[in-house]
Every structure is written in C-alpha cells, then in structure tokens.
C-alpha cells in the first residue's frame, strides 16, 4: 500500500474521484440536470406572464411571490408535510430494512412483496384508494392547522417509507454480520450494538433514503390532491391548478428561492462540518 502510494503519487489506481474522464462525464450529466433549472431561474426574471419569450428584466415576481399569501401558505404546507413525512418514513423504513436484513421468518418473500406494493401501484390508483378510504372512515376535515394536514401526511408516509426501506436494505446487504456478533459477544446490549455498530455503517443508506422520502413528498401531486381537505393547498396542488391559465413567473421565483435556500444551507452545513469531525454522530 505504502509503496504504491509513493510510486503513483497523487493518483492511485482506485482514486476514481480524480479521474478526468469520470469527472467530465459527471460534469456533463450535471450540465444536463441543471440546464432546465437555470432556464427556470432566468425566466423568473422575465417580464412576461409566461415562460416562453424573453421580454425584459424584472424582479417584480419576487416581490409578488413574497406578498402572495396563498403561495407562501402552500409552500409552508408542503414543507411541513415533507419534513414530518420524511422523519417518520425514514424511521419506519429503516426498521423494516433491518427486519428484513436480520431475521428469517415464514413467508418472508411474500412480506417483501407486500412492502413493495406502494412502489408498484400507479399513483392515481393509490390516490383514489386514499380518497375512498378517508371518506369512508369519516376522517375529520376542516381542523386547525397543522392537523388539517394529517390525512395528506399519513398518505405520504404510506408511500414513502417502502422507498426508504429498499435503499437502506440495499446498503445493509453488504454488512459483515460478524461485527454484530462480535459486539454482542463482547457484552454490548441490543441497543448499544445497534447504535455503535450497525447505525454508523447504515448511515449513508439512511441519508439516501431520507432524501428520497423528502423528494417524494415534496413533489407529490396526485395523492395529495385526493387526500386534501378544503383548506390544505400544497405547492404542487397550486401549480397544477395554475396551469390551466399559465404557470406564472411567480412560481419560478418561489422555486428559485427554494434553490438558493438549499444551496446556502448546504454551504453553511459544510462550514460547520469541520473535516476532522466527519464521523461524529
């Protein structure tokens, strides 16, 4: 190892993050991924009611978006739902992933299929199912905020956590079980073993699963529409309704703000995360 490092200098044979061709390929993908986003940001400054032709620079849509109570309300609702749904789905998904990873039990294959159901079902079918369900059990509507969001949140969790479970499960597939056994042999409790041995290994999977759950919830329209009550407009519901006329640059402005906030928060998080504390938990 030491010999190779010294002979090959800074670029080892498996130092893939430094490979130029890999970097170029990823850069190209990012270019494709971000071109529409940049377009959207540009059009948020367009002095026109639609995203079609450039008609001059303006920041008026940012002012309008800021003063648009219903837009901000929709945004707040969406974020609230997404955060709650992400936390619960990640926890539920992780537990199911661990269950499938750790235990042998009867009808396990069938159980795995059962868990995959929400992924398999077409969105509209699930939306209608939720509509029929909530109206038949007489789920109360018109409750004060944030309880009025509970039906939507419940539905979001139901379709998100199996996604999280699959991601975490894929991660756990490579875990060396002997580590766990060793930990127990050394007298660690169930909880200590989980927290000190399994969880650190599992963490990237949990983060990936959580990100997926958040994305799913934030972007969902169909199921949200069918589970929403009379005063629970979410951001996607607003956007889809707007489309009948045209998606206004206000929405582009609001989306741009979301992008900027995320970027700023990432930078801040990076600043806080000193290089030597990377493994802290």
């Amino acid at each position: 190892m030491a010999i190779r490092l010294s002979t090959l200098g800074s670029q080892g044979p498996i130092d893939y993050s430094r490979r130029l061709w890999l970097r170029t390929m990823v850069a190209l993908t990012f270019l494709l991924l971000y071109t529409p986003i940049i377009t959207l940001i540009i059009f948020s400054f367009n002095d026109s009611r639609r995203n079609v032709v450039w008609r001059g620079f303006t920041t008026k849509y940012y002012v309008k978006a800021w003063n648009n109570d219903s837009l901000i309300e929709a945004f707040t609702n969406s974020l609230t739902i997404a955060v709650i749904s992400t936390v619960i789905s990640t926890i539920l998904g992780t537990m199911i992933a661990l269950l499938l990873w750790r235990f042998r039990f009867p009808f396990k294959a069938a159980y795995e299929g059962f868990m995959a159901l929400p992924i398999v079902i077409p969105e509209i079918c699930m939306g209608v199912a939720m509509l029929a369900f909530f109206s038949r059990v007489g789920f109360p509507t018109g409750m004060p905020w944030p309880l009025n969001l509970s039906a939507i949140t419940i539905a979001h969790i139901a379709f998100s956590f199996p996604f999280a479970a699959i991601v975490v499960r894929a991660r756990m597939a490579g875990f060396n079980r002997e580590l766990e056994e060793a930990s127990r042999d050394l007298g660690a409790s169930e909880w200590q073993t989980f927290w000190n041995v399994i969880f650190p290994y599992m963490k990237p999977g949990v983060i990936a699963g959580g990100l997926l759950a958040f994305t799913l919830s934030l972007d969902d329209f169909v199921i949200t529409f069918f589970t929403s009550g009379p005063d629970t407009v979410t951001f996607p519901v607003k956007v889809y309704s707007m489309v009948r006329f045209s998606v206004t640059p206000e929405v582009n402005a609001a989306s741009t703000v979301l992008v900027v906030i995320t970027v700023v928060m990432t930078v801040l998080a990076m600043r806080l995360q000193a290089p030597d504390k990377t493994e802290a938990h």
């Binding site: 077409p122 509209i124 199912a129």
Partner: protein
C-alpha cells in the same frame, strides 16, 4: 441471519410499526379499489361489486391495451437502462469523493428534484423545443465549426414530442431514484477488493465488471426496481413531452379514474400492472434465493 424466534421482542419492535401503517393506511384503502375491479359502474357515482371479471376481460382481450402495455414496458426498460448508465458514474464519484464533497454532490444531485415536477418539465420543454436552448447551443457549435458552409444552414433538431423526449424526460424525472440506492451501495464497497483485483493484474475494465458490479448488485437491483416500476405508471411525462402516440398505460389508467369515469376498469388495469410487476419480482426473488442457497 437469525430466526425471528430467537429474539421475538426485537422482531416485533421492528416489524409492527411499519406493517401496521401499511395495513391500515395502504392495504385497507387498496382493498376498496381491488374490490371495485370486480364491479361495474352502474350509474355516474355508484359501482356495484358483482364479482364480474368483465373489466379484466376487456383489458386482456382488446389488443390495443396489450399493445400500450408492451410499449410502456420497452420505453420504461430503455429509460431505466440509460438511467443506470448515467447514474453509475455519479454514484461512483460521490462515493469516492472526500466527505465534504460527498455532501455537496449529494445535494447537487437531489436539488433539481425539489423543484416541482410540472415546473421542471415545463423548463425542460423550454430547453428542448425547436427554438430552445439546446438547439441554440447546437446551432452555435454548428456555425462556429463552419459546418453551415459545408452542409447548408442549421436545421433545428426535433427534440420534443417524440419517444426520444419521453425517454429523456423519464430519465430526468427518475434520476435520483437510481443515484441514491447506487450511492448507498457503492459507498460501502470495500476498496481493498478493487486494489486486490488490480494488484493481481486485472484491468480496470475487468475489475469493474468482475468485482465492482457484482459487489454493488443490491444497489443496482434496487435502483432498477425504483426506476422501472414508477416509469411504467407515469403519465405526466408522456403527456407533456410525447408526440401524438406517446400514450403509456399510466395515461390510460389515469383517464379511467378521471375523464372516462370508469373506476372499475381503471382498477382492473392498475391491478393487472401490479400482478405483472409482482410476477417479475417473484421471478427475481426465486433467482436470488437460488443463488443465496448456493452461497450457503
């Protein structure tokens, strides 16, 4: 793997919350729709569940639905495959990056997906259309390279309203579903295996296909499942980006629940799609089970 009997308490703690949630808030609602698929629409609002199989018969006997399902399958398969090819390098780069860059790259991959799907799709249209940025860029390259003197003036490429656009759109929409499980799986790759393979004289390519790919197979399979299946049911992307024959099975299902107001038929189509997917998953499970058996 231990038997559930060895540690019943832990087993139930892990199993109960998720299972109950799914049973109450997913299976119960779905059961209503499943029942509907054996019914018929008697008037505008009421469906009578008569146990009839006519909805399934309609879906399976009219060749047009089989044709649409078949088309949905190959479009989804192609999109999934391309997604895998594009996502793998990204996941690889993220996994091998330093911790700081890992965060940045992960967020960079996921960020576009926090913008509403519809808005993103409209932005994609603005890029791809005849007078969009993609064509402007290509035209600039074309004229800069003086090709217009050789081949005549630049003809904008028809990037929208065809199957190409649908596949590109699906890749664009489902990219994180592939990147995230791949990342979670590549990240745990024991780098010493790669070094060993290279030390033993295998080429980078051989190492990739004989060591890296098999070791990250769980991530690949998860990614394929998470992309392929939602692709099958998607309707917005073919609707907005596809041409006059872009309709996929998701569109037909959506129409049954909405414009056609025929929930039983929509339910039957949805469940047919589900049975097919489960058939495929069961095959995979059987295959994986056999392999696992051999390892043990």
């Amino acid at each position: 793997m231990e038997s559930w009997r060895d540690n019943r308490f832990v087993f139930w703690v892990f199993a109960l919350p998720g299972t109950l949630w799914l049973l109450v808030f997913f299976i119960a609602p779905l059961a209503i729709i499943w029942a509907l698929s054996f019914g018929e629409q008697v008037d505008l609002v009421n469906v009578e569940v008569t146990g009839t199989l006519q909805q399934y018969a309609r879906a399976l006997t009219d060749p047009v639905y089989i044709q649409i399902i078949w088309k949905s399958i190959w479009i989804s398969a192609l999109a999934t495959f391309l997604c895998l090819v594009i996502a793998y390098p990204i996941a690889f780069l993220i996994s091998f990056a330093s911790t700081r860059w890992k965060t940045v790259l992960l967020v960079a991959v996921i960020l576009p997906f926090w913008i509403n799907l519809l808005i993103r799709t409209y932005a994609l249209i603005a890029v791809f259309r005849t007078r969009g940025f993609a064509n402007f860029g290509l035209e600039w390259l074309y004229t800069t390279a003086q090709l217009d003197h050789v081949f005549g003036p630049f003809e904008p490429l028809p990037l929208l309203y065809n199957n190409f656009a649908v596949i590109a759109g699906l890749i664009y929409v489902f990219m994180p579903f592939m990147v995230l499980p791949l990342y979670a799986s590549v990240e745990r790759l024991d780098k010493s295996f790669l070094e060993a393979s290279l030390d033993l004289g295998a080429s980078q390519v051989r190492t990739f296909f004989s060591v890296t790919v098999p070791l990250t197979m769980p991530g690949i399979v998860s990614g394929i499942i998470l992309v392929f299946i939602p692709c099958l049911g998607s309707f917005l992307t073919p609707d907005l980006l596809g041409g006059t024959n872009a309709q996929m099975i998701g569109n037909v299902i959506e129409r049954q629940f909405k414009a056609a107001n025929n929930w039983p038929f929509g339910a039957a189509l949805s469940f047919l799609l589900m049975y097919a997917t489960f058939g495929a998953l069961a095959l995979r499970a059987a295959f994986a089970g056999r392999k696992q058996g051999m390892e043990v």
